[in-house]
């Protein structure tokens, strides 16, 4: 639901990800973070457009 | 030309101002009535659930 709502705010749903990783799943944690980092890099910086009047 | 401003107009709902231009004789050359507000209901209601309209559009005018 947060993704749907963020979409209404112009925030690409790829900028939000939910995963469950246990403390013993080191490799999985690293791979998820790397994946997400690449996704975000491809999307580019988030342009807040509420600056200025 | 001399300009007389009535700003704001009062004792009604809404915002408005009146600019009266007087010529050299002191007669009214022209008068302009302007509305210095816009909220955009006709745009921001688009895409909202229709059953919410009776809860949103009464805020166009609370009087």
């Amino acid at each position: 639901m947060l993704k749907k709502m963020l979409g209404q705010f112009g925030v690409d749903e790829k900028r939000l990800r939910l995963d469950w990783v246990s403390a013993s799943e080191g490799d999985r944690f690293a791979s998820i973070v790397n994946d997400m980092t690449e996704e975000i890099r491809a999307l580019g910086p988030f342009n807040r457009s509420d600056g200025g009047k | 030309m001399k300009k007389v401003s009535i700003d704001p107009i009062t004792r009604l709902e809404g915002h408005g101002k009146i600019e009266i231009f007087l010529n050299d004789n002191g007669d009214v050359a022209n008068t302009y009535f302007q509305i210095p507000e816009l909220r955009g209901f006709e745009k921001f209601c688009e895409g909202r659930p229709v059953e919410e309209m009776p809860r949103i559009v009464p805020r166009i005018c609370g009087v």
Partner: protein, 320 residues
Amino acid sequence: MPKLKLALYWAGACGGCDVAVLDVNEKILDVANLADIVFWPIALDFKYHHVEAMPDKSIDVCLFNGCVRSSEQEHIAKMLRAKSKVLVAFGSCACFGGIPALANFTTRAEIMERAYIEAPSNENPEKTLPQTKVKVAEGEITLPELYENVYTLAQVVPVEYYVPGCPPTVDLILKVVNALATNSLPPVGAVVASEKTLCAECDRKKENKKITRIYRTHEIIPDPSKCLLEQGLLCMGAATRGGCGALCIKANIPCRGCFGPPPGVADQGAKLVSSIASIYETDGKDDIQKMVNEVADPAGTFYRFGMSTSMLRRKHSRKR
């Protein structure tokens, strides 16, 4: 005690808050005994130049309703701030942005386009849009600049008190009047309403906070004795400040959050997403998608009155 000097002003407003003050009916005489109203466009003929001429801090209390989204509204907010000892953000628009803050989901350009060009009832073949300065034969006329964003009063000037509500209820208004009359105002920064959520003052039976379906308000006729949220309606009461007497609930319609977030909640919409999602029983990914599909307009429902005070503030466009 000399009479207080009282001012009331409406910025990006609808007049409802001004009418609410008049709704105190015969108690308006108490207000008249207590105060000289020095500015109130809906009822009295004072002009901006009268306010400009007042010495700073000569107005004892100013009740300012409406959001700020134009240069004129900002200018008058600053003027009234300078002239007033106590400035009150009166009503949901001044406190949180209100309904007009839904304009933060669109842009100034889109609003102007729709209002002045596209709308079916328009007769504007030259596609004329309002300008801040226009040269006419006799001279020049001006209009304020419309801002891209909708702001609360406190985002523009410092504010002493907040009276939420769309509009504030007669009870709250009388509370404010009484505090002024007896010189017993709360500490600065106070919100004149309840310190609890709406649920605390709602009389309905609360049994089991577990739902398997969310209904749009036209899909069911709710049982007037049971909690609306438990019946699957999106009632914002769980994350809305109380103090309104649960008027909407008594009319058998769910709360839409006009009293803003309860104490301790920074972002009302986020809190509502979390509250709704936490009571919805799901059995896997498909169920979650079902729930999401059942909420027709999450942003517009959870931030109905509070876009200006939300963390994200407005819809952000991809391009700069």
